[in-house]
């Protein structure tokens, strides 16, 4: 029997190790590194974040993530930034979920045969032992 499933993704109470790894992938894409306990500064505001990615922005110092009521949030003054907050959240969700799928697969004894990023998103191929 075979099937396919489509669902809407939501990240709540994320695993900190996976979140850091997902942030590292995003940081690499933006040509920066991950910093712990980073204070994101923007136009007239600042926010203390669990992890941050320092960026040289016209009105801010980078991007950061924090948890509010269990929900993962991103903050950045994205005016003139190379990436919008929305795009950053989309990428972070993709990377975090791909990492979670990889770890979950390993726990279940599935083999992650192929992982690639395409224009559609992140694709993973898992081989399941019979």
């Amino acid at each position: 029997m075979s099937h396919w499933t489509v669902c809407k993704l939501k990240i709540k109470n994320p695993n900190m190790e996976l979140l850091r790894k997902a942030m590292e992938i995003l940081a690499q894409k933006l040509g920066s590194k991950v910093v712990e306990n980073f204070v994101v500064e923007g136009y007239g505001a600042s926010k203390e974040c669990i992890f941050g990615i320092p960026l040289n922005l016209p009105f801010g110092n980078g991007l950061g993530v924090y948890i509010e009521n269990g929900e993962l949030k991103i903050c950045m003054d994205d005016h003139g930034a190379p990436i919008s907050v929305r795009e950053a959240m989309q990428l972070l969700t993709q990377y975090y979920t791909a990492l979670a799928v990889t770890v979950a697969s390993q726990q279940l004894g599935y083999t992650v045969q192929n992982v690639r990023e395409s224009s559609e998103g992140v694709l993973l191929e898992l081989h399941v032992p019979q």
């Binding site: 029997m1 075979s2 099937h3 396919w4 499933t5 489509v6 669902c7 809407k8 993704l9 939501k10 990240i11 709540k12 109470n13 994320p14 695993n15 996976l18 993962l72 989309q90 969700t93 993709q94 975090y96 979920t97 791909a98 979670a100 799928v101 770890v103 979950a104 697969s105 726990q107 279940l108 599935y110 045969q113 559609e120 998103g121 992140v122 694709l123 993973l124 191929e125 898992l126 081989h127 399941v128 032992p129 019979q130």
Partner: protein, 67 residues
């Protein structure tokens, strides 16, 4: 070997495509995966499951036809 293909798209959707399974094992395999994903804080909402034509093939039928 049974394969699960996963696409995490830019609109925040996940598409799980299971193929090559025998019996109800496809649903069991993906449900196990979803359970662990939930432990990592990834919740899958508005779930839509589409059964492929192979889903309705009874267990053992394929082997008999191939033989």
């Amino acid at each position: 070997m049974p394969i699960i293909r996963i696409l995490i798209d830019k609109k925040g959707r996940i598409t799980i495509d299971a193929e090559g399974f025998v019996g109800k094992s496809c649903l069991i395999a993906t449900e196990k995966l979803e359970k662990i994903l939930k432990e990592f804080g990834v919740s899958l909402n508005n779930k839509q499951v589409h059964l492929k034509p192979e889903y309705h093939v009874k267990e053992g039928t394929l082997e008999r036809v191939q033989a």
